[in-house]
């Protein structure tokens, strides 16, 4: 019994690391623009599909991964300029609908490009699974956790130790005053959206070897990522990390003990509980009221 739970826990860590990446994208955009970007999961789908199809065409894995992240960022930039920027003065409900539309549109475009077939991507490192105290960790897990370290580390260094990052934090803390200091809020909003798309794309690249890639994977990934973001606190990057791992572990352990079909349901029951009991999330600060 204990061994089983330990195994589910390890599986949860692998999944949770991916959720954390997607959640980071949500948090980044929400902090800077106050926007929940329902299209976040689709960037992961774009990353996964691009990487899988390029690697399938014979490109080295590293190049395929880099191009996949680039494609996701470009689509993110385009999406922001075409869909969100023209409506940035609209009320929050309209903006939610717009990102919803963006999500459906990206998914539909992917259907035209790749069709309904799913693509697979080889694990980045061949080799046997890692055994930790009798539990098996899939060979892809270190890569996923590596991506987490890379992204959260880079964000930490950028936000805390560079002048530009300080400007971003000022824009988050108090937009009107930041504006009087000449901090370009619109530009920061744009780049945070692109960065979130890139992070989502990277999440897709590292998850593709685990789940294989298909045009409709974005919805599930996006929803899980954002349960994780709410769980940890929508305005907290450490919260995204914690929320991602917690959600992954919750899902896998309860899914393993009850039935795998309930996995997704568990996540959303947690979401509802968090929204009611502690809407600011575990590590968040405030509930933003528009």
């Amino acid at each position: 019994m204990i061994a089983e739970i330990w195994q589910y826990l390890l599986a949860g860590i692998a999944v949770g690391a991916i959720y954390a990446l997607i959640a980071a994208g949500f948090v980044l955009v929400y902090q800077v623009t106050g926007l929940i970007n329902f299209a976040q999961g689709e960037f992961a789908m774009l990353g996964a599909m691009t990487a899988a199809s390029l690697a399938g065409a014979g490109l080295p894995a590293l190049w395929a991964a880099a191009l996949a992240v680039l494609v996701a960022s470009l689509v993110g930039a385009l999406g922001y300029l075409l869909a969100i920027r023209p409506a940035r003065k609209a009320n929050p409900v309209i903006l939610i609908f717009i990102t919803l539309g963006l999500s459906v549109a990206i998914r539909g475009a992917a259907l035209f490009v790749w069709g309904t077939n799913s693509l697979s991507l080889n694990a980045f490192s061949s080799g046997t699974s890692v055994v930790v105290f009798g539990g098996v960790l899939s060979p892809q897990t270190p890569w996923v956790i590596g991506a987490d370290v890379l992204v959260f580390g880079a964000l930490y260094v950028f936000l805390r130790h560079t002048p530009l990052g300080t400007a971003v934090r000022a824009a988050v803390a108090n937009p009107p005053i930041a504006r009087t200091f000449g901090i370009p809020l619109a530009t920061i909003g744009f780049w945070s959206f692109v960065a979130a798309a890139a992070i989502g794309g990277l999440g897709g690249v590292v998850v593709a070897p685990i789940t294989s890639a298909s045009y409709d994977m974005g919805l599930t990934l996006g929803l899980a990522g954002f349960v994780a973001a709410v769980l940890g606190g929508l305005d907290s990057l450490p919260g995204a990390l914690a929320g991602g791992f917690l959600l992954g572990i919750f899902e896998k352990v309860s899914g393993g003990l009850i039935s795998t079909g309930w996995e997704q349901g568990v996540g959303f029951i947690i979401l509802i509980a968090v929204l009611v009991l502690r809407p600011q999330g575990l590590l968040g600060h405030t509930v933003r009221r528009a």
């Binding site: 409506a87 409900v93 939610i96 539909g108 259907l111 069709g115 349901g265 029951i269 528009a290």
Partner: protein, 310 residues
Amino acid sequence: MRNALILFVAGITAVWFLSPYAQGLVALIGIYALVTLGLNVFMGFAGQVSLGQAAFVALGAYASATLALRLHVSPWLGLVAGGCAAGIAAYAVSFITLRLRETYLALATLAFGIVVSVAFNELDFFGGSSGLKDIPGLTIASWNLDVRGYAIVAWALVAIAFCFTRNLVGSGYGRALVAISSGELGAAALGIDPERLKREAFVLSAVYAGVAGALYASYVSYIDSTSFGFLLSVNFVLMSVLGGLRSLWGALIGAAVVVLLGQFLQNVVPLVIPSARGDVQSFFFGVILIAMLILVPQGIAGRLGSWRRA
């Protein structure tokens, strides 16, 4: 009122002579229009947001189908039962969800939608992932309703709901809802109880969705949890936005445009792009949703209305 009645009778006569395929579309539009009417009260007038409306359709459909299959309850009563089941669920859920606003409300309703979908998929009592088959259809005396019959029943329900909703939003009640949408604090200062009104609008929208779901179950005679997923909820939002959030005619227009456009795209896109399969309309739906919100946020009906007044 008399004009509406004439329009309705004329409509039914026209439907009588349509091809069965077109009659099927008319029935489907009616069912969706019923859901969208309710959604417009909750989203358009009260200014809230629901991304889980498909869950109420599912609750209505499953309630009616289960009663008919297990207890042999007449599907006509199933329509009432479906509406009640969805309404009660909405009432219960409202104590959680309606404490939240905007983004958080969107999340909570979305989560509710997914939990309901997962629950119906997992619970064997409701057929599990294989769904419910052979759901009895509606009958009048010895006549088993055909497509034509369903089209008429659907639009009769739409007509009733339309008249009721129009009286509701045209009264002080509707103005109170609009007051809530422009600021709950201000509304409360005018003596309106925002919480109660939001709850009532939410329950109303769920009842409409539940009745629509029950009718849908009898009409197609087979349901499973995938018929009521997140994407259906998004489609309802699209219908609402496209037609015009704060317009009742908009609900009908939105439902009609989305269903017809969906059919059109499903038939035409594979001719242009042979490799396209599956949900080919979703790309266009997404783009249309964004374009409408940016260019015509008041929707088709809102735009037509402002022309008429000008």
